[in-house]
């Protein structure tokens, strides 16, 4: 390794002696303004929510394992589907990416911390409150919200005492996301290393910058939509009540104006993570870095003009159907550019298959399957058949579980040695990967067939003709759920492995690998030279 870099490390160690370390006790976490501590809290919170939402998925799949009603009442089943979605979307996937951003963006751009550290503390600590409120509805008269995570009126207005709690928890999640997004934008725009131009930024930083803009553009729209639900219920307005001259279909338009960019909020950072990992283990530079940036920007722009493809069946003029159908299909072009670039990065690379790379490869392959079923759903006349069937469930789980969740897992394995200073157990990591990949396909692939055969979603019972595939899916789901316990074991034993080097991986590039492992509490108090750091790795 180049001596410049080693010297840089020595300076960091010296600086650490002068500086105070973390506070002791619970105060370290409650009042933390340190991006690494807050990132850790986000990741632990997300993992907790992943297991709570996962437990709900287990209830759903147990009930669906065989035809007939066996374990739960249909009302409770509906609460489970609704809560599973809300918790996984807002509690597991989004905070996981914010956690990775908190940990890695300052390290990747050579900033000492996030730009707004106290707001950072706020945006994290709002989340446990929001989800405390949401989960408390399980114990309320009338139970949790059960009208689906999309909260369509007039059905959602029949939620019992839980209704205002649902609205306020969504408000809090929105506030948290907006603050997190503002923090990330300010950090990326104002705090990069002096010689790091925008187009020189790592892909993870780029995709997060675009995601953050999407967040501040659409989370307030969701807040507005649920506020209108609240005033319709309690303050006599009629935004969505037909009796007073409103239109419930308008809610669907406003919701999906938020909801479609939201799906890219959950996948763009995943693209970023994978774009960091594949070059490392292919030992080549990312193919077409700039085209990746433009593709991600195109996807973000297109995400605003395709929302009505979620609601082809509510009825719209023919021109509207054509527009939303073709605009949706257009998204396949920039997404295809990304897939092509990842494959081209691997082309003739010296690939090795450590756990992060395995998860990334599975991401590329399985996310593409989810993308293809998305294209099928985009065809307006065909969507009339697919709408609200298990085909839709198969589609969005393919893009979210082996898509977003696998990317998060890949990122966790990739950066874990930098966080803990020790290598995780590679054998156990690979076991986690293989069992997750086998079971995730066993769970969700049969759902394509169920949907094409006409099995509706959000139903606790089904016709006996669907029973075989449902049993297979339930076995897969239990297996996938148990596989995640292996990940917990990896995390719990993360500090027992051999010491990690600063660069951790043979092929890694970027500023985050110039700091010691584990990354000291304070890093980059003097701005680094990104160019010099990168040349050190050539």
């Amino acid at each position: 390794m180049n001596t410049d870099v080693s010297n840089a490390h020595d300076e960091h160690h010296d600086a650490d002696h002068d500086d105070h370390g973390p506070d002791k006790g619970i105060g370290r976490w409650l009042f933390s303004t340190n991006h690494k501590d807050i990132g850790t809290m986000y990741l632990i919170f997300s993992l907790t929510m992943f297991f709570i939402g996962g437990a709900m998925a287990m209830v759903i799949r147990s009930e669906l394992a065989i035809p007939g009603l066996q374990f739960v009442h249909p009302e409770f089943f509906n609460q489970m589907t609704t809560m599973h979605a809300l918790i996984m979307v807002f509690g597991a996937v989004m905070p996981a990416f914010v956690g990775l951003a908190n940990w890695m963006i300052p390290l990747m751009i050579g900033a000492p911390d996030m730009a707004l550290p106290r707001m950072n503390n706020w945006s994290f600590w709002i989340l446990p409150v929001a989800f405390g409120i949401l989960l408390s509805t399980l114990f309320m008269p009338g139970g949790s919200p059960a009208g689906g995570w999309t909260m369509y009126p007039p059905l959602v207005l029949q939620t019992g005492d839980a209704f205002p709690f649902l609205i306020f928890s969504v408000h809090l999640m929105g506030i948290s996301s907006i603050m997190g997004a503002i923090n990330i934008i300010v950090t990326v725009i104002n705090m990069r290393a002096p010689d790091m131009s925008l187009l020189k930024m790592p892909m993870f930083v780029w995709t997060w910058l675009i995601t953050a803009y999407l967040l501040i553009a659409v989370m307030p729209v969701l807040a507005g939509a649920v506020t209108m639900l609240l005033t319709d219920q309690f303050f006599g307005t009629s935004f969505f009540l037909a009796a007073g001259g409103g239109d419930p279909v308008m809610f669907q338009h406003i919701f999906w104006f938020f909801g479609h960019p939201e799906v890219y909020i959950m996948i763009l950072p995943a693209f970023g993570v994978v774009s960091e990992i594949i070059p490392t283990f292919a030992r080549k530079k990312l193919f077409g870095h700039d085209s990746m940036v433009y593709a991600a920007s195109c996807i973000a722009f297109l995400s605003f003009i395709v929302w009505a493809h979620h609601m082809f069946t509510v009825g719209m003029p023919l021109t509207g159907q054509l527009f939303f159908m073709f605009a949706t299909m257009l998204i396949a072009v920039p997404t295809g550019v990304k897939i092509f670039n990842w494959v081209a990065t691997m082309w003739r690379g010296s690939m090795t298959f450590e756990t992060p790379m395995l998860f990334s490869l599975a991401f590329v392959f399985l996310f593409t399957i989810g993308g293809f079923s998305g294209l099928m759903l985009a065809v307006a006349p065909a969507d009339v058949q697919y709408h609200d069937t298990y085909f839709v469930v198969a589609h969005f789980h393919y893009v979210l579980v082996p898509g977003s969740v696998f990317a998060i897992m890949a990122g966790a394995y990739y950066w874990l040695p930098k966080w803990t200073g020790h290598m995780y157990n590679e054998t156990v990591g690979k076991l986690h990967f293989w069992s997750s990949t086998i079971f995730v396909n066993l769970t969700f692939f049969p759902m394509h067939f169920l949907g094409l055969a006409g099995m509706p979603r959000r139903i606790p019972d089904y016709s006996t003709q669907f029973s075989d595939f449902n049993t297979i899916a339930s076995i897969g789901a239990i297996g996938f759920g148990l596989s995640q316990l292996i990940f917990v074991w990896v995390i719990l034993t993360a500090k027992q492995g051999p010491k990690a080097t600063d660069r951790v991986w043979e092929g890694s590039h970027g500023l985050e690998w110039t700091v010691p492992s584990p990354a000291p509490y304070h890093t980059f108090e003097t701005p680094p030279q990104a160019r010099i750091a990168n040349e050190a790795f050539e």
Binding site: L157, A181, N190, P220, G245
Partner: protein, 181 residues
């Protein structure tokens, strides 16, 4: 960490964007949606513009008008069209009546909400007079007939031979109040 001016001004701009998109969602999208529906007939909105009775109605063309009535599950009413369907010539004025009965022992205010299908016909279907224009007050157990007066515009596209006019009858008391019953 220095709290620098650049950060503050960028934060201010981003907060304005967030507030702007909230305002966009609440104050701009609903009126825009209304305008969109009026222009396209989307959601079955009927034409609100004044229609003229043609001096020479198109007697060669016959359009079937079907009436569909629904009572919202929270409204304690009976509500039906007096005839299921009628055959009309474009450009001529027609009358139809609907009858509603309050089934509860309390006075109620009801509102009928119309919808026309297909949407391409919606802008060519003009109501001159309709009980759906205003809310309707019903005494306890009251039953009465309510008028509808309409014209089908001769510009109606050739391929439309049937128009369905659908009414849903609502109790205007808030949903929450209904739900508690």
């Amino acid at each position: 960490m220095p709290e620098n001016k650049e950060n503050k001004s960028l934060v201010r701009q981003l907060l304005i964007v967030a507030a702007g998109s909230f305002a966009f969602g609440v104050f701009l999208l609903p009126p825009m949606y209304d305008v969109f529906c009026e222009i396209t007939g989307f959601g079955g909105r009927t034409n609100a513009e004044a229609a003229t009775v043609e001096e020479n109605p198109d007697l060669s063309r016959e359009i079937r008008i079907e009436f569909v009535t629904t009572v919202n599950s929270y409204a304690q009413f009976e509500f039906a069209a007096d005839t299921d369907s009628m055959t009309v010539n474009p450009g001529k004025m027609y009358y139809a009546t609907f009858t509603a009965k309050n089934l509860s022992a309390e006075d109620k205010v009801a509102q009928a909400v119309p919808s026309v299908a297909p949407t391409t016909a919606a802008e060519h279907f003009t109501k001159i007079e309709c009980f759906c224009f205003t809310s309707q007050e019903f005494l306890a157990d009251e039953e009465r007939a309510m008028p509808l007066q309409f014209i089908v515009d001769p510009d109606l596209p050739d391929y439309v031979d049937t128009i369905t006019l659908q009414y849903t009858f609502f109790d205007t008391a808030p949903v929450a109040a209904n739900f508690e019953n």
